[in-house]
């Protein structure tokens, strides 16, 4: 499986299958971390990690709208800032919940791992599939 990150590189078929498996494993971990203890608070972690690439996409589109006017990269920077916030939220929310004993420590680590897998899948998929430098995450 070639790991080249060249723009416009087409996804090979086994890579798609692998990514889908990793995504499913991530969701499995998150849902197990909720369902094993019948406590659905860790589901917020999955929600945060799914939402994490959204601001960059929106802000890149917004900044690309006025392509040849004066350079205003504030939208891109804002998108990056919000992305950093969301990823940190996804990492620290389970730790918070585990610290105040609202969820079990095992559920905390499972939801962090699952959320990381989901976010990593999104990153790798957009890195291969997105191609050009427009929507980098």
């Amino acid at each position: 499986m070639p790991l080249t990150n060249s723009p416009g590189h087409t996804l090979t078929f086994p890579a798609v299958i692998l990514l889908a498996f990793v995504l499913a494993a991530g969701f499995l971990l998150v849902i197990l971390s909720c369902a094993l203890w019948a406590n659905w608070l860790p589901l917020f972690v999955a929600l945060t990690f799914i939402l994490a690439p959204v601001p960059n996409a929106i802000c890149a589109r917004r900044a690309g709208m006025d392509d040849f006017s004066e350079g205003n990269s504030a939208y891109i920077d804002f998108g990056r800032f919000v992305t950093g916030m969301l990823v940190t939220t996804g990492l620290s929310l389970p730790l918070l919940l585990a610290h105040s004993e609202l969820i079990q420590p095992a559920a905390c680590w499972m939801s962090i791992a699952g959320g990381g897998l989901v976010y990593g899948t999104i990153l790798v998929y957009s890195g291969w599939f997105g191609g050009g430098g427009d929507d980098e995450f």
Partner: protein, 187 residues
């Protein structure tokens, strides 16, 4: 007025010139991500203390005692100050300030530069006020009454405000590069 910036420049005010460092596009994006992460992390520090306080139980050897101290609105006031200060400092357009501080003859009579300086002063004052306020809360609410088991609430508050301040600094340093990196890359 095309005087080259020499070693001796009559328009300078200070003897030492501040080091002017240029950040590349990589550093810029990494600094922005880092700043956002630090911002969220410091908020989660305070939220962690608040959640602990909400779910605090009396000690197990005396289950009918009441928990002596909780986090209240007072603990949130420094956080509010710091957040407003962060927003003010970050939203500010840096180009006005560089014109104001470099003593450029073209930018000196600009009223926008003066307003930018006032707004920057207010923002930094709010940030520093938040940090000082969190120290005040730590000392007056947790150290002086000797709530030693609940010292974490106050320390988390100080850490949160310090983190917001550090995040503002990182964002400022990351944004101090040139603004047109996108166009250097694409065009």
């Amino acid at each position: 007025m095309a005087i080259p910036r020499a070693q001796y420049d009559p328009r300078r005010v200070f003897r030492f010139s501040l080091p002017k460092f240029e950040v590349g596009p990589k550093t810029r994006s990494a600094g922005t991500y880092l700043s956002g992460g630090l911002f969220a992390l410091s908020f989660f520090l305070l939220l962690d203390a608040a959640t602990l306080s909400k779910h605090a139980k009396p000690p197990s050897d005396a289950p009918h005692d009441v928990v002596p101290v909780h986090m209240s609105f007072v603990d949130w006031i420094p956080a509010i100050c710091s957040t407003i200060g962060f927003l003010v400092v970050s939203i500010l357009d840096k180009s006005h300030l560089s014109a104001a501080f470099s003593g450029d003859a073209w930018g000196s009579s600009d009223s926008a530069a003066r307003r930018a300086r006032v707004v920057l002063f207010l923002g930094v004052a709010l940030l520093a006020g938040g940090l000082a306020g969190s120290l005040t809360v730590l000392i007056l609410k947790y150290i002086i009454p000797e709530y030693n088991g609940y010292l974490y609430y106050g320390i988390a508050n100080v850490g949160m405000n310090g983190g917001i301040m550090l995040s503002a600094m990182i964002l400022w340093a990351a944004q101090s590069g040139s603004d047109e990196y996108e166009y250097q890359l694409t065009v």
